[in-house]
């Protein structure tokens, strides 16, 4: 056909034979990136985690399940359930479980606080979803965007905020005292942990539920109403069934997150209210690696079990409604004032007060505490302390500037790693091919594995050194931290970029390819520019995750010069709250500024 009589319309000069070397390389680029990403995952995640897990089943060189059996039969871990594993009658165990002085053990307590936290998060999240999905008011979009903020706030900073709010000398007691009420001490209680978990996870529940609520097609509700259903009946029959899956999504994720919680419990509960994760940390510090590893596996199995059960449910219950006309939003301040108009709004007003205390008080209290002296007067002494420490601190002491510098350095490094990894995985998991789910699961596994295990694996593997073909390979602690952060952050890049790619019209991609662009070129020219805001958001996520990461960092920051801001805060919090809050404010400011910078950089590069 190349010699056809096309007149001015002859063959353009691309053609299957005449492909330049550059074109060929470009065509292979995606494959190369995928291989590099897989290699990074293996080196920084699968291999380290694997070495840890192997320790659990290998004692003195022999493979054994003895460590597991011991943990399962130990009431310290499994409470009354341990007797079941030890072979006692289920009836006796059930009777003791029902009695008030039952023992839960560490695993039982972890599940118990996770369940309570989940209930609290759902209770706190649903009214927010109702408000965001069904009402119109100034700042609604902003508020909706802000629901993501708690998720990226460094947990150790939030813990400081909670201490500043709910501690003996916290703002809550100050307010209670001013009202003539007796003080309360919520610190080192289950309540504080549950509230802090709700702080993190209620916005998550609110986000997923709001999204589901907004995708309810108004025409379905209108049809139900026209068939004779009242407003409440229409809600139960049409709206609610579309919300359950979303609420369950939020609940399942909350349970998994709070089941594996670490910094919050460490800071607000201490070792007397230890969860599995905290105890693994303790075992690691005591160098009981086998027991720590076995415990980590048990934790992982439970977490994955919940996730799998949820995913099966989701697969059965996901309804995709595209092009739906959403329900119209009601004004928050109505013109008429009937009981039906007023009641929900009174409820929302009450909710505002509770939400204000839980979401705003910790941050406000932290800032307040950082400028308040022991005598209650305004002072800058805590910041001065940080400066003094910077100038006069001994080598073994935590100084602020190295912490800030390390945090920024590690976060930049982790983002530079996580961003391409995340984009590549997002591209791979949004294409259609056999085994895609497997790739997706393998790539998302870091979400489910405890940071302690990753940190421990990297520490005992790469940092202490491994033999590869006769060469001893060691990696500096700081490099290992960057790797751990990148691994922790990149799933969030995937999760922000993939939906955008998934939503792209396939014919855009196919048009570009028919016009002569290779697969990799299409990603550069068409897909990334169109999902660029999501890429920037992914970068911000990766950066925020890294800057707030505590769990793996505290394991890996063994050398004196690898500590980050969260680690510094944790060191300070043990002695005096003031410097910790001051450091928390520094972390808040640095994180905020970084977001602005990322946003600016993203804006300049828009369109590549």
């Amino acid at each position: 056909m190349s010699d056809g009589p096309h007149g001015p319309h002859g063959r353009g000069g691309r053609g299957r034979i005449r492909r330049s070397l550059r074109d060929r390389l470009e065509g292979r680029l995606l494959t190369l990136l995928a291989v590099a990403t897989s290699a990074a995952l293996v080196v920084a995640f699968y291999y380290p985690v694997g070495t840890v897990l192997v320790e659990a089943v290998r004692v003195d060189g022999a493979v054994t399940l003895g460590v597991f059996a011991e943990i399962l039969r130990d009431p310290f871990y499994f409470g009354e359930l341990a007797r079941l594993f030890a072979g006692e009658s289920p009836i006796a165990v059930a009777r003791d479980l029902a009695s008030p002085d039952r023992r839960l053990g560490i695993v039982g307590f972890t599940a118990y606080q996770a369940a309570l936290s989940t209930a609290a998060s759902v209770a706190l999240g649903l009214p927010a979803a109702y408000l965001l999905a069904r009402f119109e008011f100034p700042g609604r979009r902003t508020l909706r965007s802000l629901t993501i903020v708690p998720f990226v706030l460094p947990s150790i900073m939030v813990a400081v905020g909670f201490v500043a709010t709910f501690g003996r000398n916290g703002t809550l007691n100050a307010v209670l005292g001013a009202l003539g009420l007796p003080p309360v001490d919520l610190l080192f209680t289950l309540e504080a942990i549950v509230i802090a978990h709700a702080f993190y996870n209620a916005p998550l529940v609110a986000r997923v539920t709001t999204a589901a609520w907004e995708s309810v097609d108004a025409r379905a509700v209108e049809t139900a109403r026209s068939l004779g259903a009242g407003p409440l009946r229409a809600f139960y029959d049409v709206v609610a069934p579309q919300l359950y899956p979303a609420v369950l999504t939020g609940a399942a994720l909350t349970f998994v997150f709070t089941f594996g919680t670490f910094p919050i419990v460490l800071a607000l509960g201490g070792f007397q209210l230890a969860t599995i994760e905290v105890f693994i940390y303790r075992l690691v510090r005591d160098l009981s690696y086998a027991e720590a590893a076995a415990l980590a596996i048990i934790e992982l199995v439970i977490s994955l079990g919940v996730l799998l059960a949820y995913l099966r449910y989701e697969a059965r219950n996901t309804v995709r409604s595209r092009g739906a006309r959403p329900l119209p939003r009601k004004p928050l301040f109505p013109a008429a004032s009937t009981a039906r108009q007023i009641l929900p709004r009174v409820g929302l007003a009450a909710y505002f007060v509770v939400a204000g205390v839980i979401f705003l008080a910790p941050i406000a209290s932290m800032i307040l505490a950082s400028v308040t002296g022991a005598d209650g007067a305004l002072t800058l002494e805590h910041y001065r302390f940080l400066l003094d420490r910077q100038q006069t601190g001994a080598a073994f002491q935590v100084r602020p500037w190295p912490a800030i510098r390390n945090s920024l350095l590690f976060a930049t490094g982790a983002t530079l790693f996580a961003l391409p990894m995340g984009v590549v995985v997002a591209v791979l998991t949004t294409r259609r091919y056999r085994g895609r789910k497997l790739v997706d699961a393998a790539a998302m596994a870091p979400l489910a594995v405890s940071g302690i295990v990753v940190g421990l694996g990297l520490l005992r593997g790469l940092v202490f050194g491994i033999e590869v073909a006769g060469w001893r390979v060691t990696v500096a602690g700081s490099v290992a931290i960057v790797l751990a952060h990148a691994i922790a952050g990149y799933p969030f890049v995937v999760r922000t970029v993939a939906p955008g790619l998934e939503g792209l019209d396939r014919s855009l991609i196919e048009s570009a390819r028919a016009l002569g662009a290779s697969r990799a070129r299409v990603i550069r020219d068409v897909e990334l520019p169109l999902v660029w805001p999501a890429v920037v958001a992914g970068a911000a996520f990766a950066f925020a995750i890294s800057i707030g990461e505590f769990t793996a960092t505290v394991v890996l920051a063994t050398s004196a010069d690898a500590y980050t801001m969260p680690v510094a805060i944790e060191r300070f919090i043990g002695r005096r709250l003031g410097p910790a809050t001051a450091m928390g404010v520094v972390l808040l400011v640095v994180t905020g500024l970084s977001f602005v910078v990322i946003e600016r950089l993203g804006g300049e590069h828009r369109g590549l």
Partner: protein, 387 residues
């Protein structure tokens, strides 16, 4: 495939023109289901070739196989005799226009049109800018280069998509329902323009549509597809006048399909052999629901008494109180279409369609000339149970 009365002038492209695209026993299976089932087709150079059929017939999948977006499960696709198996879409020198136009929303109209020139020099030795201007001129949007695609109307976007697909000078233009998102009037105007551009450039074009009227209006040849395979491949007139199967007869335009048994082959001159040979039309009597209708049977095989026979008569060939083969029926409903009225008659519980200019009511007698009946001699899509 192309057996029924394909004359070399009606198609517009000489039958001996070189083959541009050939599908040879091509199938595409997704698990158990075959979207495209053993298709063999030849598109000639410079031809406007249309795949038409109801949704799910495999026409779009066939187009995507040609474009290289999908690889066939079995069979071979050849461009100018050369297999393109494993050749990715970007190396096939094809231009594709989609139903939703798929303009890149982050690029201006000019950038959209120029995109393919990143990978190919503009044909004819002109610069990129000149080529873009040339193409926008061709689609009657000379001043649109700096505009945002989303600021254009649907019809304009469609033309930009055409310009973009044509800019690198592809060997083959593939159009996937490019007009089905537009309103009827615009569609008619645009298809004239598409056909004009195609003729001007002489570019081989494969067009996919579900609209049989559009297919007849625009094409050199049409492949009517059903269940993953073409039932007939022929110029539009042939497809309309001599449908190869009952499905084609009913899909393309309004039609009245009759099925019955040959009761009288007296005039066929059975001893005389093939009537086509000596130029004498041969008619047979067919018993259809108790009435005997005379039908001209011009097929290759002579029907004998007792044979089952399927034939069709276009509504415009049914005349009130006229014709040789007559039926008595009652008016059931009428749709006024402006130029004519489409009347549905009830004939013994079956529907008959008639076109008239005058209003009808009550009982009427309609008839047709045996020559206006077309016998469907392809067994495909017709089982004995249907008769």
């Amino acid at each position: 495939m192309n057996t029924v009365g394909s004359d070399s002038t009606d198609g517009g492209v000489p039958t001996d023109a070189p083959v541009a695209v050939e599908l040879d026993g091509v199938s595409k299976r997704y698990g158990e289901t075959a979207a495209v089932d053993d298709v063999s087709l030849r598109v000639r150079e410079g031809e406007f070739f249309t795949l038409v059929g109801p949704s799910g017939c495999g026409k779009t999948t066939t187009l995507r196989l040609i474009a290289g977006f999908e690889e066939p499960t079995t069979g071979t696709i050849r461009f100018s005799g050369e297999s393109v198996a494993g050749v990715p879409p970007e190396d096939r020198d094809v231009g594709v226009v989609f139903q939703n136009y798929a303009l890149f929303p982050h690029m201006s109209v000019g950038e959209n049109v120029a995109y393919g020139l990143n990978f190919a020099d503009p044909p004819g030795g002109v610069t990129r800018d000149e080529r873009v201007a040339e193409l926008l001129e061709l689609v009657d949007l000379p001043d649109a280069a700096d505009r945002d695609p989303e600021s254009l109307s649907g019809g304009q976007q469609q033309r930009v998509a055409m310009a973009r697909a044509l800019a690198p000078g592809p060997d083959l233009l593939l159009l996937d329902e490019p007009m089905s998102a537009l309103d009827a009037q615009l569609r008619e105007r645009l298809r004239v323009q598409v056909r004009r551009i195609q003729s001007e450039l002489g570019i081989t074009t494969v067009y996919v549509t579900h609209d049989q009227e559009e297919a007849l209006a625009i094409s050199d040849r049409v492949a009517v597809m059903r269940d993953g395979a073409p039932e007939q491949v022929a110029p539009p007139r042939t497809v309309y006048r001599e449908p190869a199967t009952r499905f084609v007869a009913e899909f393309v335009g309004d039609n009245n399909v009759f099925a019955g048994r040959v009761v009288d082959a007296a005039e066929s001159g059975a001893a005389g052999g093939n009537a086509d040979g000596d130029g004498t039309p041969r008619t047979v009597g067919v018993d259809v629901g108790g009435e005997t209708l005379r039908v001209e049977a011009g097929g290759a095989t002579a029907p004998a008494v007792g044979d089952r026979l399927v034939f069709c008569v276009r509504p415009e060939a049914l005349r009130i109180d006229g014709g040789e083969s007559r039926l008595r029926a009652t008016v059931a409903s009428a749709e006024f279409l402006g130029e004519t009225t489409r009347v549905t008659l009830d004939w013994g519980g079956r529907d008959l369609l008639v076109r008239t200019r005058d209003p009808l009511s009550g009982e009427v007698v309609v008839g047709f000339d045996p020559a206006d009946a077309h016998v469907i001699d392809d067994r495909r899509g017709v089982t004995n149970d249907d008769l």
